[in-house]
């Protein structure tokens, strides 16, 4: 979070509104879609009013563009979604058991995991999916050093801590294989500490 980085790149000069709109089109499509779902029926009136609302929202409340955008690899996405739902059900059952069992919960842990990817979008997806799975919450994130800090609900011993850390890295790998660029997938082969820095997909 360098202070100087803010002004650079939010509006790469000259192209103005058209350039901004190009970045906002997926967002606008999503907003129109949500508008239709809220009304519950498809009609031209809904489409037009939804477009007007989406245009107003994107112009009046602009968001910084996500640099690089996402590429979707269908196989990787299927693996990611499959593992995600299995994880969701399994750890929800585990947490439910920990609330019910007579002994209560044992020790918790706060671990810091060094990530290998350097893209805002991918890190966001990793953090969101880790928080969605019960039993782990992302507490903090150091963007410069690329570390995530997680609170783990229940750990037995130090070996368990290491296995949770490996699980986080595996989750990262699945996310990168689902949404990453070829460079980022290649970066997975490096050890967490020595990955090449600055692939430059940082939102300024």
């Amino acid at each position: 979070m360098s202070a100087g980085g803010r002004a650079v790149g939010t509006d790469p000069g000259g192209e103005g509104l058209a350039h901004q709109l190009k970045h906002q089109v997926p967002l606008m499509l999503w907003l129109v879609f949500v508008w239709m779902l809220l009304w519950g029926t498809w009609s031209w009136a809904n489409l037009i009013s939804g477009s007007v609302v989406a245009l107003a929202v994107t112009v009046l409340l602009p968001l910084p563009p996500v640099i690089g955008g996402a590429r979707v690899h269908p196989v990787g996405l299927a693996v990611f979604v499959g593992y995600f739902f299995v994880d969701l059900v399994r750890s929800a059952a585990l947490v439910a058991w920990q609330t019910l069992r007579p002994g209560g919960i044992g020790n918790s842990a706060i671990i810091q995991v060094q990530m290998r990817t350097d893209s805002d979008l991918l890190l966001t997806i990793v953090a969101e999916s880790l928080t969605l799975v019960p039993g782990s919450v992302v507490i903090d994130m150091d963007r410069e050093r690329r570390t995530l800090s997680l609170h783990i609900l229940h750990v037995r011993d130090l070996a368990d801590v290491e296995s949770r850390r490996a699980a986080v890295l595996a989750e990262e790998e699945r996310v990168v294989r689902a949404f990453g660029s070829p460079d980022e997938i290649a970066a997975l082969a490096h050890a967490p500490g020595e990955a090449p820095v600055a692939t430059g997909r940082r939102t300024p």
């Binding site: 919960i105 969605l132 019960p134 507490i139 800090s149």
Partner: protein
């Protein structure tokens, strides 16, 4: 009205019961767990899986696409927003020391308190510290990489 006659309905009712059970364990976890962070875990469980199960169950039972889409929309909203609020609350909870440190096996975030000077509270992620140069210098001094003034 409230009839259960086909396999579809049985599946839906089972999903609803599972979701309701997760809500019960959430309440139980809130009462039994020790600190804010662990209670947070109890909270995210029905927020994600419970709502998902109940919405799917509801979508199976309700006729008409309008209601089905809206239920799915609620589930999507929950899955997008629950991590954000959970993260914000747990971050503040850690910084306000609402943590039973004696029950933590390891705490790798507690390396020093230098970070607190740079990111003090729950400001937006792109907010610079008020005096970046001074704050950075001070935190370096705390870490020991710079000699004290």
């Amino acid at each position: 009205m409230s009839d259960v006659d086909s396999v579809r309905d049985v599946v839906a009712v089972v999903l609803l019961l599972a979701g309701a059970f997760l809500c019960l364990t959430a309440g139980l976890g809130l009462v039994r767990f020790h600190d804010v962070l662990t209670r947070m875990h109890a909270g995210t469980k029905p927020q994600v899986l419970g709502i998902l199960l109940i919405m799917i169950g509801g979508a199976i039972r309700l006729e008409g696409w309008s209601a089905t889409w809206m239920l799915l929309l609620v589930a999507v909203f929950q899955m997008l927003t629950a991590p954000v609020s959970a993260h914000m609350i747990s971050r503040v909870a850690y910084r306000r020391r609402h943590v039973r440190r004696d029950l933590l096996l390891v705490d790798e975030l507690r390396t020093g308190e230098a970070a607190d000077r740079l990111y003090r509270g729950d400001e937006p992620a792109d907010a610079p510290p008020e005096e970046p140069a001074t704050a950075l210098e001070e935190s370096r001094r705390d870490e020991g990489t710079l000699p004290p003034a």
